[in-house]
Symmetry: C2
Subunit: 333 residues, 2 copies
């Protein structure tokens, strides 16, 4: 089914007000969730909203908490999220990096004691909207095996790189695991194997069977040993810079994560560059070649986000009726 | 065969002096190559030295050129490498980031018109030796397919993350392709298939046959679509920040690359953190679990580098006799 963007944002806001958010914060959080769905990212849009409410009920997320600065060293700052809503903390910290980058050319904020930031790409787009390159990464609960191991001992630690571009921003928004559990369910529901090895079964054997991985909860890193190394380092970077919890400490309940945010003030770098032509050149080059067997096109990171947004603003946002009704059921009348 | 570390450094220096390097630069470059071999990274140590000399003969690398600052914006600077030796330029730029980080907490340098930096990890270790977190990445000639494509249309764009640690620095030094060609040759020489899909054959079909990939020169990104997106973004980041050439422009001859260097002054971040205990916790956690079938251990990035270094300082550096003799043959007597 489809629902108008404004209706989604309004319904979510009403529920958030019921949950004790003040008017401003309720609007902002509702907007972040609604925009994720608008951009076609329901997994981190309305599909995630019921779980977000649960994390408030459980006391992981403190509705009123605001981040507190704990350290400042020129172009880099450390903040404590006070276990406030992860999306509000992330939005705040990316905004701080933008202010820092306006002074120092580059700005960095390390954040501890925060919560799941929901759609990682939001904060990349936030930087891009102000002409900045935006980079951010987070740790998560251990939900992925390290290479060689047969237990989930590192997070899939999402990484975002966003680059401003007139036509459409470039947005890499990826977790380090090869397949998300959502994607594995899609294959499982079609009775298909994964195209590539995606995890381990309960015996620690590498498999392409999505159901076995869903059962074992042992997904493999993208690039196996390479993604494993990258995830370990991202976890260490965020926890060392923010002086906060590592993935290993999020094993039981996932709250109190660490994140790092970086902005670079691209437009003020000299000499004035023709950004558009550099980006166009790369896009043309990657799209121009012969295709891999069975593939229809080469896409750049973030391609079609704007097209999806435009279409859904006009025609309504495609949502899962069951989830939407579940959300509607939470509105007090 | 084994050769003493000092002998390697001295022989390389003599050859570099013959090639017109001044005494200081010859020492530094010789040391970088010799240390790579000392750390067990011959592929970017003495095995790469003959090709380094060729890039000088071809006029790609200007022995005398020194980097020139073209832009400065507080904590970020842009430099032009003037096509000087890639390793000297990289060493210089990482040192600049360290100076910037001592002032601003974080320092960033974007470098254009440089050359292959040889062992990427060198510059991470350089930062770590001064108590800094070091991050750097580069673009390369197109040597890897983008996901969906069947031509080499992006670089394997190596990425380094280095974290200081009393016992042994953590060092991620990875290209974005799943297998290096050196690694594929090892499997080919043993008549074995690759454990995972590593590239395309000449028809654009995904394969585990190392010889077919060596022939097609179409290696796959680590994590397929994920590594592909990451490589595209790393190429854009370095070329936009440095205002220099993208991978696509390095297709014919690989010179004039772009690189980005970042340092963070970990020790001055407040409150004083117990780095060692955070790192120990992560290392213990990843090593503690059950093992994947067929695997003997879980390793952290950079593990054993110091042990290899110590052993080879004492017992001599393990080198390929053919390559060493080829190098010895270049010394004028």
């Amino acid at each position: 089914m489809t629902v108008e963007f404004n209706e989604i944002a309004e319904v979510l806001k009403r529920i958030l007000l019921q949950y004790g958010f003040n008017d401003d914060k309720a609007s902002t959080v509702a907007d972040l969730f609604a925009r994720a769905s608008l951009d076609g990212v329901n997994s981190h849009g309305i599909n995630r909203f019921p779980f977000f409410l649960k994390t408030i009920d459980r006391g992981w997320v403190k509705v009123d908490a605001e981040p507190v600065k704990v350290g400042s060293l020129g172009a880099i700052e450390q903040w404590d999220g006070q276990l406030g809503p992860g999306n509000l903390n992330a939005l705040f910290c990316m905004e701080r990096t933008i202010s820092l980058a306006r002074i120092h050319g580059i700005g960095c904020v390390a954040l501890r004691n925060t919560n799941h930031w929901i759609r990682a790409g939001s904060y990349g787009l936030q930087a891009v909207d102000q002409g900045m390159v935006g980079i951010c990464f987070t740790n998560t609960k251990p939900n992925m095996v390290v290479w060689g191991g047969a237990e989930a001992r590192t997070g899939n630690n999402p990484l975002v790189i966003a680059i401003p571009n007139k036509k459409e921003p470039l947005l890499l928004d990826m977790s380090v695991s090869l397949y998300s559990y959502g994607k594995m369910w899609e294959y499982a529901n079609r009775g298909e194997e994964l195209p590539f090895e995606g995890g381990l079964d309960e015996n620690g054997d590498i498999t392409r069977d999505p159901l076995k991985i869903i059962q074992s909860e042992l997904s493999l890193p993208a690039g196996f040993w390479k993604g494993s190394g990258l995830s370990i380092m991202l976890d260490l970077l965020v926890s060392l810079l923010a002086n906060g919890q590592t993935s290993s400490e999020l094993e039981k309940d996932e709250y109190g994560n660490c994140q790092v945010f970086i902005s670079v003030d691209l437009n003020r770098l000299v000499p004035p560059r023709d950004q558009a032509s550099i980006i166009e050149r790369v896009i043309k080059y990657i799209k121009d070649g012969k295709l891999m067997s069975g593939q229809k096109e080469v896409r750049y990171p973030g391609e079609r986000t704007l097209a999806t947004r435009k279409k859904q603003l006009k025609d309504g946002v495609e949502v899962d009726a069951k989830i939407w009704n579940q959300i509607l059921g939470k509105v007090n009348h």
